[in-house]
């Protein structure tokens, strides 16, 4: 005996989402059936609307409804600094900080020899074009993640951008605020000592 077709199809669809296996998808499908009619309709609409109305800004690659995005459009922002991040989510994290008022560029990935991600597959060409055509940008802050792939991508970009006489910086590595030295890994401790500052 199989599940009735409508629930089997719903389970199948939930399973397409990342990190959701068969058991979890089944649980979500049964939960869906117990939801209010309206809540299910809203969910379905939200899926279709998000897919239809959102796209990536052609200038910076960030997620947006308008073209270009609000950040690229906002001339009151500091046009001299540009932060390069891996994902649109990273833009949101940095914006929450409310301390950076410059521009962004979203790579949508990192270089990864193991996963076969080449420079052509991420937003590097558009970054270089942007730096060539926009003379206001004086500093590029590389904010890829502190992973081997993120580091390698930062190194690769630094080598490409530096010849254009643009200042290239990288986010500082060290102990997270509020963290214990006891639990810090060796690489982090090493970076924290290397980057020590006089007080």
């Amino acid at each position: 005996m199989q599940y009735p077709d409508p629930i089997a199809k719903l389970i199948e669809n939930y399973m397409k989402l990342p990190g959701i296996g068969n058991k979890n998808a089944t649980r979500l499908a049964f939960f869906t059936i117990d939801m209010d009619d309206e809540a299910v309709t809203d969910f379905a609409k939200a899926l279709v609307t998000a897919k239809r109305d959102l796209h990536y800004c052609q200038v910076c690659g960030n997620i947006t409804e308008s073209e270009p995005c609000n950040i690229c459009l906002d001339q009151t922002r500091d046009q001299s600094k540009l932060i390069v991040v891996e994902q649109p989510k990273d833009v949101m994290s940095l914006e929450k900080m409310q301390e950076f008022h410059g521009l962004y560029h979203v790579l949508h990935g990192v270089l990864s020899p193991t996963e076969g991600t080449t420079p052509e597959e991420i937003n590097i060409a558009s970054l270089l074009k942007r730096l060539q055509t926009n003379e206001k940008i004086q500093e590029v802050i590389l904010a890829t993640n502190a992973t081997p792939e993120g580091e390698a991508t930062a190194m690769y970009l630094a080598r490409l951008i530096k010849p254009a006489k643009i200042k290239v910086t990288r986010l500082a590595h060290g102990l997270a605020v509020g963290s214990d030295i006891e639990y810090a890994d060796e690489m982090t401790l090493f970076r924290a000592i290397e980057g020590r500052q006089e007080i």
Copy 2:
């Protein structure tokens, strides 16, 4: 700065699902935007279709497209045995076994003093009515989970059903097939010894 409205709404909707927090919902929302148009439409359709076309069988409480469900309708099944389970998923697990050919009754929950679930809130009244009106049922097999709530619900049902001179049984407790004694908890070992059988 906030996420654009369509993605904020989608994140909100994903967060309504059980076990999905803010971070995970954000990840799923961004994943959705990167999916094919068709896949998103299919997903939305599957949600609405499942909610619209499925309901719980008025006889047994199992999930079904037709009324009554295929199991209740199938007169070739053994009408003398009825298994009581907590959830529709349990019916599926037992059907996969392909060894039981009787009927089912789905409680849609268990009695739980801590969560305040009373007998009126789960499918007990319909079970008793079914046993009263259907004289063919000779044995009720209580297959609620081996949790304190499942046990208590089984005990409660046994007390209600036994006076009607219907045989009431409970699934056996003991070591799972393929499991190590070393890793079995004390309660399971105790039940395994209590329920030991001559070979």
